[in-house]
């Protein structure tokens, strides 16, 4: 296979070239630039003074405000990932085990929410959850709650909004892995005396673990970087990291500090994703 493999290697390399150039130009270059900015000093008059200092990072990690924002972000991301996993697994299983025409329609229905932008969707939630919104109107009409219940601008509203954004990613990732688990394995387990819940725990879940890892990582990263949903549904009192980074760049024009926050968010997201992955994979191969 070596000869033909080597001969085939060259055109393949040529095929990935456009993507590599694009990534280098549009992703790596701005990030290198941003990282350089994060080492500069902010001045209210000159905006940015060239320097090589870690002071932005130090002040970010020692500032109780940003520590609290980071804690809120991580809590929200973990919560939303777990909810998406719990809600997505049964849906993904159903989708993966379906056949024929219904499957195509259901897959389309799963993807459909992705065709509506985050902002539009959040606006939809606002009309549902607002003090004069549909839900409160219904509660008032029922007579149980004469006064409006505060639903908007709560962590619950943000979690609801984020979960509906990320759920399709979780479902599709899980479904593609579950589809690869032969139905015969479940039948074999049933035949050997395992009840459906045991079949799930002992056969389906362990074999779907790569999908759980991939789906959770993908969704967790999306949650950590959520921007529109926390702003629109969380209100001014509820701050997550991505809006905080944006504020530094646009409102206070402190680019060095904003850049430092962005890299801290990146590092924390990466570290937690890798840690979660390692944790799940250790469960897969117990010592």
């Amino acid at each position: 296979m070596n000869e033909s493999g080597r001969a085939a290697g060259r055109p393949v390399a040529a095929l990935v070239l456009p993507a590599v150039v694009l990534v280098l130009l549009m992703m790596v270059a701005p990030m290198v630039l941003l990282f350089r900015y994060s080492l500069n000093i902010f001045s209210p008059t000159e905006l940015m003074i060239q320097a090589l200092t870690a002071r932005n990072y130090l002040s970010a990690v020692t500032d109780p405000y940003y520590l609290a924002v980071m804690a809120t972000t991580i809590r929200m991301a973990v919560l939303c990932t777990l909810i998406a996993l719990a809600a997505g697994f049964p849906a993904a299983y159903t989708l993966a085990r379906m056949r024929g025409r219904w499957k195509a329609w259901l897959t389309l229905a799963t993807v459909f929410p992705l065709m509506v932008g985050n902002v539009v969707r959040a606006a939809g939630w606002m009309t549902l959850l607002g003090n004069a919104g549909l839900l409160n109107a219904a509660l008032k009409a029922s007579g149980l709650f004469p006064d409006p219940v505060q639903l908007m601008y709560t962590p619950m509203a943000v979690a609801l909004g984020i979960v509906t954004v990320v759920l399709p990613y979780m479902i599709l990732t899980l479904a593609s892995v579950i589809e690869g688990i032969p139905r015969g394995l479940e039948e074999a387990a049933l035949n050997l005396g395992a009840r459906p819940l045991t079949v799930f725990r002992r056969v389906v879940l362990p074999l779907a673990l790569p999908g759980v890892v991939a789906g959770s990582a993908l969704v967790f990263i999306l949650c950590m970087n959520a921007y529109a949903t926390p702003i629109l549904l969380g209100g001014p009192q509820f701050t997550m990291m991505a809006p905080a980074v944006y504020d530094q760049f646009v409102k206070t024009t402190n680019w060095p500090f904003g850049a430092a926050l962005a890299f801290i968010l990146l590092a924390v997201t990466l570290a937690l994703t890798l840690a979660g992955r390692a944790l799940l994979q250790r469960r897969r191969h117990p010592a």
């Binding site: 032969p182 015969g184 394995l185 039948e187 074999a188 387990a189 049933l190 035949n191 050997l192 005396g193 395992a194 009840r195 045991t198 002992r202 056969v203 362990p206 074999l207 897969r284």
Partner: protein
């Protein structure tokens, strides 16, 4: 004692009937083969016994207990799946031990029974391997061990040999049969391979179009096929169409041929196995040779007669035998004993098989 009984089993899928009126009584230790072409309903029948398919009507009784409505995990069956369905994330020992674990067998006893099962299928020393590290034949034996370690009331095999190469298949066939007889396992076995069914089974259930065509020992089914489909599906046969002239005389074309019994005036098909036809200078039916096929131990002659084309198969004659010199175009005489000519009701179903 009856281990398994199927009572008027029927399964519909929308407008199509996949299985219809299947009745079967299996005794303890018996091996029964469900045999038929693909789509005949044999696999659906097996899956109804295992509980993966709910019958539209009819009953499944295992060891005296009606399990028609019971889920698969509450039936005492051990199934070997066509693709083996070994758990890829578990070792061989974990695969074999899974059923014992589900039955809450204590760990110490489990270990002993796993070792015993692996010894039975000659896989000692491979207990810690993963299924992916085993050959096809070894995986097949793990699947056998996994199903039989729990001592199921009924052992179910779904085309267990179809994924093995020809040489291994013959070997495993003998092995499964020996194991089944030694352990006295009541076994229901699905196959489309008539040779497999004839060599392994105590009884055959020949199915076609969702119906049972014939149930009987391999000898009964081969010697006394119930209809043209069975005659054509089990082994090969010559079919001649004509009318019964008198008891023991069958008229096909210009010829009166020997047959067993029959009511005069009846339109019928005469079925004669190729190896029951004698070929030589003497006989009742003259013919001319179209083709001689030498197969080593046996030789086949294709002969055209006034009654129709016939295939004759005999042990290859000695070198001195004049039949060794028969060539295309030579005239010969054919004959058979009356009991070798079986009369069956004439339909065209046999030709489709």
């Amino acid at each position: 004692m009856t281990s398994l009984s199927l009572d008027g089993l029927r399964r519909e899928y929308g407008a199509t009937v996949a299985v219809d009126r299947v009745d079967l009584e299996m005794q303890q230790g018996e091996l029964v083969a469900l045999l038929g072409p693909s789509g005949c309903g044999k696999t659906t029948t097996l899956r109804m016994v295992a509980g993966f398919v709910a019958p539209t009507s009819g009953r499944v009784v295992i060891g005296g207990r009606d399990v028609t409505a019971a889920p698969p995990y509450a039936r005492d069956t051990g199934m070997v799946f066509q693709g083996y369905a070994l758990f890829p994330h578990m070792s061989v020992a974990e695969n074999v031990g899974f059923g014992l674990e589900m039955r809450r067998v204590p760990r110490a006893e489990r270990g002993a029974r796993i070792a015993e099962a692996l010894r039975l299928v000659r896989l000692e020393g491979l207990a810690e391997r993963r299924p992916a590290q085993l050959s096809g034949g070894q995986q097949q034996r793990v699947a056998l061990a996994r199903a039989l370690v729990v001592n199921p009331a009924v052992f179910l095999l779904d085309e267990p040999l179809s994924n093995l190469d020809a040489r291994l298949r013959a070997e495993v066939r003998v092995e499964i049969r020996a194991l089944q007889q030694r352990l006295g396992l009541t076994t229901l076995f699905v196959t489309h391979d008539q040779e497999e069914a004839l060599t392994m089974a105590d009884r055959l259930v020949v199915m076609q179009g969702g119906r049972v065509r014939q149930t009987g020992t391999p000898e009964e089914v081969y010697e006394r096929p119930a209809d043209l489909f069975v005659a054509g599906f089990i082994g090969s046969c010559n079919i001649l169409r004509g009318v019964v002239e008198a008891p023991g005389a069958f008229r096909a074309g210009a010829m009166a041929l020997p047959c067993a019994g029959g009511a005069p005036g009846e339109r019928a098909a005469l079925v004669v196995r190729p190896e029951r036809i004698a070929i030589g200078p003497e006989g009742r039916l003259p013919g001319r040779i179209d083709l001689v096929t030498y197969l080593g131990g046996t030789t086949e002659w294709h002969v055209t007669t006034d009654a129709g084309a016939l295939r004759v198969s005999q042990k290859t004659p000695d070198a001195a035998d004049p039949r060794r010199l028969l060539r295309r175009g030579d005239g010969v005489m054919l004959d058979w004993r009356p009991e070798a000519g079986r009369l069956l009701s004439d339909s065209n179903e046999g030709e489709q098989a």
